[in-house]
Symmetry: C2
């Protein structure tokens, strides 16, 4: 009985592992554009910072990989293939600790991650239909759904003059 139970447990565990692995393979690329979460994006250099009020209500940082940052600094437009721009965002938290030190209410800091992490990946052939850019959003490391990804380009399209990129480089 012990052996049968163990065997069943082993089969069950194996099935679980296979399912998880299959899920992993399926889930780790964002839909529509097929972009995977870049492993090192948190190490990328800073392009700029921003704050969105309203329903987004976050404070954000825009980072770029080496190709993107070089293009920004040299004013290269359109961005070359291989450029990736990342948008990180956090809750916009009033800092009681800082305000106490300053003696007035004035300080807001980044709280928990919020509104996902978004990427624009430049590949002028692969993404020719969307200005040469692929778009991706990951929430807690997992790609957002297809409906969400279908909204990206429409919003970026008005910024055609700067190759569909909202953010300017902060000197």
């Amino acid at each position: 009985m012990f052996r049968i139970a163990s065997a069943l447990l082993a089969v069950g565990a194996l099935t679980g592992i296979i399912a998880a692995a299959a899920g992993q393979t399926h889930d780790d690329a964002a839909p529509v554009y097929g972009i995977k979460l870049p492993a090192d994006y948190r190490d990328w250099r800073l392009i700029s910072v921003a704050r969105e009020e309203g329903h987004l209500d976050d404070i954000r940082a825009i980072l770029g990989n080496d190709i993107a940052v070089k293009a920004y600094r040299e004013g290269t437009l359109p961005f070359p293939d291989g450029a990736i721009i990342a948008r990180l965002a956090w809750s916009y938290d009033s800092s009681e600790e800082n305000n106490k030190v300053f003696g007035r209410v004035q300080s807001h800091v980044a709280g928990a991650p919020k509104n996902g992490v978004q990427f624009m990946v430049k590949d002028s052939r692969k993404y020719a239909a969307t200005g040469g850019w692929g778009f991706a959003q990951f929430d807690d490391g997992k790609p957002a759904d297809e409906a969400m990804h279908n909204t990206c380009f429409a919003c970026h399209e008005p910024i055609r003059a700067r190759d569909f990129v909202f953010t300017r480089y902060a000197r």
Copy 2:
């Protein structure tokens, strides 16, 4: 006459160069702590972002050199010698361009550099009197005055529990 004028011009130019060089040597280290502007700070990795209202009225990014970022990520306190934390800040500008795309007033972006660039440099022996930290502010690349530098530590002192550093790492 031409030769004399040329010689005088040459002497004048040389004096100017010497004066500029002397000025450079004298001015490039911040007073009190003797810190020079790190050449590569704009390439450092992101620690977090923040916004100060009131008279500062800016949006800011806190960057760290490799030693500082490693300590942050591993939760090492106090920060090891060699850690440097940089605070960059820009004017907090409403973005008409972004608001137009979003169809509502919600977007603020980084404008021109503002409130100088500030640094905390960890050297537990050299700066033993100020918690092991030296402080520096540079405005347009030039160090701020001594009076300004004498205000730094008093403001950081209440944050003793986190080695005098206000900013927490943004995951």
